[in-house]
């Protein structure tokens, strides 16, 4: 049974290799091949899952050692896999949602001549992501970690002819690299501390080392998590990443890859448990991000960017939960899974809307779409209810638990975190309602010709600005797209409930993440009611602002905060001013320095040598008598020197 684990990774990898090296002859069948391999790995995951269920809780860890990878002295890196409850959960999520999105893409990418390559990249991503969650040591995890980075780079920049896409891709990779720095330093620290970086030994030996070391490792891991999971301060890339095709946004930038950070922290739970300071840092990052993302989400008119903001904030919740330690890990993962369902569903819905609106993304150009694309509307709606935590739907269970845990942190900390989480819930409800209303309700703004909006400089003038305006013909998407949406909708409705039946999910994960019940200062029911109340408030507020009065086709100037939020709270401006321009200056200066100083020194010596030579030449003036003079002088010096030597 263990030997199947490698195949989980191998299948999509083979698919990628086949599709990317196969050449044009595969163009016609490429998308189906890709989908097939994705399904294959899902098909492999299911029996493994049943196998695990078959065993009793303690025995649910499978190992597979393939070969010794980098053996150098004490440094022993193996290619070996570890399948336990945590990774199993991820495997199912990745392969399941992944397969659905493959199917969805068949329809979505129908008209793209590079569709084969797209599926190749998707498969590559699956392989890398599975490697990430299946690795049994940090170095191999690192390989998957950067592998998904690569895949996301390729997919964000899939439409390379658009400079914006290429730039976004580059940005995503670079920001992730900063995080990767953290991960690699963490691994080095582990190596110097424990002499190894395999999960088992490291996590087992945590007790034997100092807290300082653990804190250092933990902070470095957190840095890595921030990069991959778009947490403050490394969140800037996620918004731009929406340049990629929508299925990509759904799979990579909502359901799976961006949650890798959460996986990393949960996986390294033992380390964080030993390093309270690191944990504090984690919860702070989580809390800040969940607000940050939510605020940004409120201001965006680009539907995908709005969703991206929400992703950010939801992951903030997970990180927050993961930072809470044993009381939170399980809920972080649980929210991760449910979020995987509904956020993917929402993105696919958005994609379906764009598909029907010839790739318009500006929500101010939507409106009243519910009757044109009912399926999309319903599935999107269910996802919406799930994310705002409507009682009974999956989001409600997972998020509510996180808020409880946040309070359970205890002390003022607990109050602050809980408050933040609650506030976040309210804002979530607000911006999601806004999206819902602007897209599916209200007047059909897309019938009128657009007027270029000054507030959103990022949106490049759409095609229809030239010549006379032909309004789009909104229509429902093909089956290949709607079916995945429906399945995901089902998931987002049911998952939370199923997981929470006598804490099935928590029990399932407990052996890995050792769970303990938090004891919030308020009763669970009180917190739940509070959650529901703030949620209702948020919805109501949004309704009054966007449901009652018509949405202006051009974004109003808006308050200072709004404008800031539109620009990702000026985070990018900061990056640009400091990093991009500053860096540019630096490199220019260095190039100058290299030429004029470092190289100049050499050229200088050469030149001076030439000058010296030129001057000495003058002595050779061609007059025999002056030569004689010099000889005489030389003789004099010679004599003088000889005499001096003797001191005569």
């Amino acid at each position: 049974m263990e030997n199947l684990i490698a195949l989980l990774v191998a299948a999509p990898l083979a698919g990628a290799a086949l599709l990317l090296c196969g050449g044009r002859r595969l163009d016609r069948a490429g998308h189906w091949i890709g989908t097939l391999f994705a399904l294959a790995s899902f098909a492999l995951a299911v029996p493994l899952f049943t196998e695990l269920l078959g065993r009793d809780a303690e025995q649910r860890t499978l190992h597979q050692h393939l070969f010794s990878w980098i053996p150098v002295g004490g440094f022993q890196a193996d290619v070996a896999f570890q399948l336990d409850q945590l990774s199993m959960t991820f495997v199912l999520l990745i392969t399941g949602v992944g397969s659905l999105i493959h199917i969805y893409s068949v329809g979505y990418m129908e008209h793209d001549e590079r569709r084969r390559r797209f599926f190749g990249y998707l498969n590559l991503f699956l392989a890398a992501m599975l490697l990430l969650v299946l690795a049994d040591n940090y170095l191999l995890l690192y390989v998957g970690w950067e592998g998904v980075g690569l895949a996301s780079y390729l997919l964000i920049g899939f439409w390379q002819h658009k400079p914006s896409a290429a730039t976004a891709a580059k940005k995503a990779f670079l920001v992730n690299r900063v995080g990767d720095m953290g991960l690699s330093i963490a691994i080095m620290l582990m190596f110097t501390t424990f002499g190894t970086f395999a999960f088992g030994p490291v996590l087992g030996a945590v007790g034997e080392t100092s807290e300082g070391k653990l804190t250092a490792i933990g902070l470095m891991l957190l840095l890595a998590a921030c990069g991959k999971s778009a947490q403050v301060p490394l969140q800037s890339w996620l918004g731009d990443a929406m340049e990629g095709p929508t299925p990509v946004s759904a799979l990579i930038h909502a359901a799976t890859m961006v949650t890798a950070g959460v996986y990393l922290i949960t996986r390294s739970g033992a380390i964080f448990n030993g390093a309270p300071d690191a944990q504090t840092a984690v919860v702070v990052v989580g809390a800040v991000t969940l607000l940050f993302g939510a605020i940004v989400g409120c201001a965006k008119d680009d539907i995908k960017k709005a969703l991206a903001g929400s992703t950010m904030s939801q992951i903030g919740y997970m990180i927050l939960a993961a930072g809470l330690g044993p009381i939170g890990y399980a809920f972080a993962i649980m929210h991760l899974v449910t979020h995987g369902f509904f956020k993917a569903g929402l993105f696919l819905g958005a994609g379906s809307v764009m598909h029907g609106m010839n790739d318009e993304v500006d929500m101010r150009r939507y409106g009243g779409l519910r009757k044109y694309m009912p399926v999309t509307f319903i599935t999107f709606g269910l996802g919406y209810l799930a994310i705002i935590g409507f009682p009974g739907l999956s989001g409600f269970f997972s998020k509510d638990k996180i808020i409880e845990a946040a309070f359970a942190k205890g002390g003022t900390e607990g109050w602050i975190l809980g408050g933040a989480a609650l506030l976040g819930a309210a804002i979530t409800a607000f911006y999601m309602t806004r999206v819902m209303l602007m897209t599916f309700f209200g007047e059909e703004r897309w019938r009128k010709a657009p007027t270029p909006s000054p507030a959103e400089p990022s949106v490049e003038p759409a095609a229809e600005t030239r010549g006379e305006y032909t309004p789009p013909h909104p229509h429902e998407s093909p089956k290949s797209m709607t079916i995945p949406m429906i399945l995901l909708a089902v998931g987002s409705v049911a998952a939370g409930g199923l997981f929470s039946i006598n804490e099935a999910f928590v029990k399932w994960l407990e052996p890995v993440t050792d769970f303990e019940h938090g004891h919030p200062p308020l009763s669970a029911s009180a917190i739940t009611t509070a959650t529901i109340v703030v949620m209702v408030l948020g919805v109501a507020l949004a309704y009054f602002q966007y449901g009652r009065k018509p949405v202006p086709a051009v974004a109003p100037r808006g308050s200072l905060l709004t404008r800031a939020a539109r620009r990702d709270l000026l985070q990018d401006d900061f990056n640009h001013a400091v990093l991009v321009r500053g860096g540019g200056e630096l490199t220019r200066a260095l190039v100058q320095l290299d030429h004029s100083v470092v190289d100049g020194a050499v050229r200088g010596t050469a030149a001076s040598m030439g000058g010296l030579s030129g001057r000495l030449r003058q002595v050779q003036n061609g007059f025999a008598r002056s030569y004689a003079v010099q000889m005489l002088g030389g003789a004099a010096v010679l004599i003088a020197a000889t005499l001096l030597m003797r001191g005569v």
Partner: protein
């Protein structure tokens, strides 16, 4: 005595060089095939060497040959290989055929009437390449300092003619102008390295004087000197040893090149044709880093550890400085050159970290960097030969016109930024870990290099390959069969060594351990050593 395998490995390309040079002017194609044939023969011999070599067998060197040569100077013709040498010989023998294949048309006569019938650039080009290969191989094999020095120096001459004589026709501002730029670059290359070499000559002579003074008869045999040192027969004074070390190190640092002695490299790589650039950075420069490992450390252990802090700082500067300048370049080949400077920084850092990870990683790095740079540079060369310009700004959207070219270019680039799964990652990470485990601060600062690497590679890729298609690029043909035959194996190798570097590490580890034992350094122990069997228990 047994068949002199090592001599043969060096002799075959030498003979090939002569044979190629002798081909009459009209028969250019013959010359090409002859050269390719000989390079392949060398590859076969190198393979035999690798097979006959048994990693971990006792004694520092294997397949040794030893003959008297210049008694009066205490010089012997002494060859021998350890794992490191075998790896690098294999690399050299492997790359040269690709270099020849890639440069197939680089030395074809210019259009229009030739000034002189007897002028045979094509023959010369390939003959010189083979000559370089021969000299590089023998300097990897030499275990006699003097013998090494001779070829270390002599190698400059063919290299010099390759750089100065055969620039690519992409010079801005006419053939005349680019020719002058070329010869400047060549002269700079030669003078830098000659200066380094002559300083080293002084040190070599000094070494002889010291050994002659203490052992009775002067010797250059590495093994003898190391042995005498171990037996306490030979004890250089601290001052002497440091001076000699500096003399040696200076030459190697110029060759490597280490900041601030690097300024010859961008010119040389920029002005010469892509294959020659590969020859410089992937093959010839490796002799420098190799020599640090073999000669600097083993001849002057104390001085090495004395100089380590400074060298580490310089290496660190190289890493960051090279990367930053790469970002600032407007010329594709110069960009790659600066990237190489950054990578050589890593190699040197690994060598002087004095840990088995560091030095093993550095050795792997030499090999991997050779392959990855070859891939990237050769593809860049193909690109340049199509458009006739080295300026990044002249490209854009190539990806649409020539997807395969763009794809291979991207893979080469990803290797350069050492993406996990590709060979360079293994070596780079080893170097970082090795350095970190002894000098944490240095290791951490060095990791910034991986971000910068991503920056210059991706910027290069974005500016050239993506974005709207430039009109000059639109009709650009994709890779031809010959070019694909060059690139594909390299990429395959990058993948293989990235996933399964074990053969290489097994080859290198014993040699590295030996070096460390000579230098008398031991890996720092982890504070909480975890037994491997504990892992199984989990």
């Amino acid at each position: 005595m047994s068949f002199p395998l090592l001599t043969a490995t060096a002799a075959v390309p030498a003979i090939g060089a002569i044979a190629t040079a002798a081909v009459p002017a009209a028969k250019r194609t013959v010359a090409k095939w002859l050269a390719l044939l000989f390079s392949l023969a060398t590859l076969v011999l190198a393979a035999v060497v690798a097979v006959r070599f048994t990693p971990g067998a006792k004694g520092p060197f294997q397949l040794t040959e030893s003959h008297a040569w210049i008694r009066s100077f205490g010089v012997r013709y002494e060859l021998g290989v350890d794992g490191i040498a075998v790896a690098l010989i294999a690399l050299t023998a492997l790359l040269v055929p690709f270099v020849i294949l890639a440069g197939w048309h680089d030395a074809d006569p210019m259009e229009g009437p030739e000034p002189n019938r007897r002028w045979r650039p094509t023959q010369g080009f390939f003959a010189l390449i083979l000559a370089v290969e021969a000299m590089v191989v023998i300097s990897f094999e030499a275990t006699d300092v003097f013998l090494f020095y001779i070829f270390f120096e002599a190698m400059l001459i063919p290299m010099y003619f390759l750089i100065g004589g055969f620039g690519d026709r992409a010079g801005s501002g006419g053939e005349e102008h680019s020719a002058s730029l070329r010869s400047q670059a060549a002269v700079k290359f030669l003078l830098y390295n000659l200066a380094g070499g002559l300083i080293m000559l002084a040190a070599v002579i000094g070494l002889y004087a010291a050994t002659a003074d203490q052992l009775g008869s002067g010797t250059f045999s590495l093994t003898e000197i190391v042995q005498a040192r171990a037996d306490g027969k030979l004890a250089l004074g601290t001052g002497t040893e440091r001076l000699l070390f500096l003399g040696f190190f200076f030459a190697f640092a110029v060759k490597a090149p280490l900041w601030p002695l690097h300024t010859w490299l961008p010119g040389a790589m920029g002005e010469s044709t892509a294959p020659v650039a590969v020859l410089i950075t992937a093959v010839v420069d490796k002799v420098g880093t190799f020599a640090m490992l073999r000669f600097c450390l083993q001849l002057f252990p104390e001085a090495s550890s004395w100089a380590t802090p400074v060298i580490l700082v310089l290496a660190l500067v190289s890493i960051l400085y090279g990367a930053l300048l790469a970002v600032g370049q407007r010329d594709i080949k110069r960009l790659i050159a600066y990237a190489s400077i950054s990578h050589f920084g890593f190699i040197i850092m690994g060598i002087f970290a004095m840990t088995s990870q560091g030095q093993g990683g550095a050795t792997l790095y030499m090999v991997n960097h050779g392959i990855s740079t070859a891939a990237l540079m050769l593809v860049a060369g193909f690109l340049i030969s199509r458009r006739g310009s080295r300026l990044i700004a002249d490209y854009g959207g190539v990806q649409k016109a020539a997807p395969v070219l763009a794809g291979t270019f991207l893979v080469g680039g990803l290797a350069t930024l050492s993406l996990p799964g590709l060979a360079p990652f293994v070596s780079e990470f080893l170097v970082l870990v090795g350095t970190f485990s002894r000098y944490p601060a240095v290791g951490i600062v060095a990791t910034v290099g991986i971000v910068l690497a991503a920056l210059y590679v991706l910027v290069l890729y974005q500016r050239t390959m993506t974005g709207p298609v430039k009109s000059e690029v639109r009709a650009m043909p994709d890779l031809k069969a010959r070019e694909l035959a060059v690139v594909a194996p390299l990429i395959a190798l990058l993948l293989f060594l990235g996933v399964y570097p074990k053969p290489l590490t097994d080859l290198v580890n014993p040699a590295v351990d030996h070096t460390l034992s000579v230098v008398d350094q031991h890996d720092p122990r982890p504070d909480v050593p975890v037994k491997a069997d504990a892992e199984a228990a989990k």
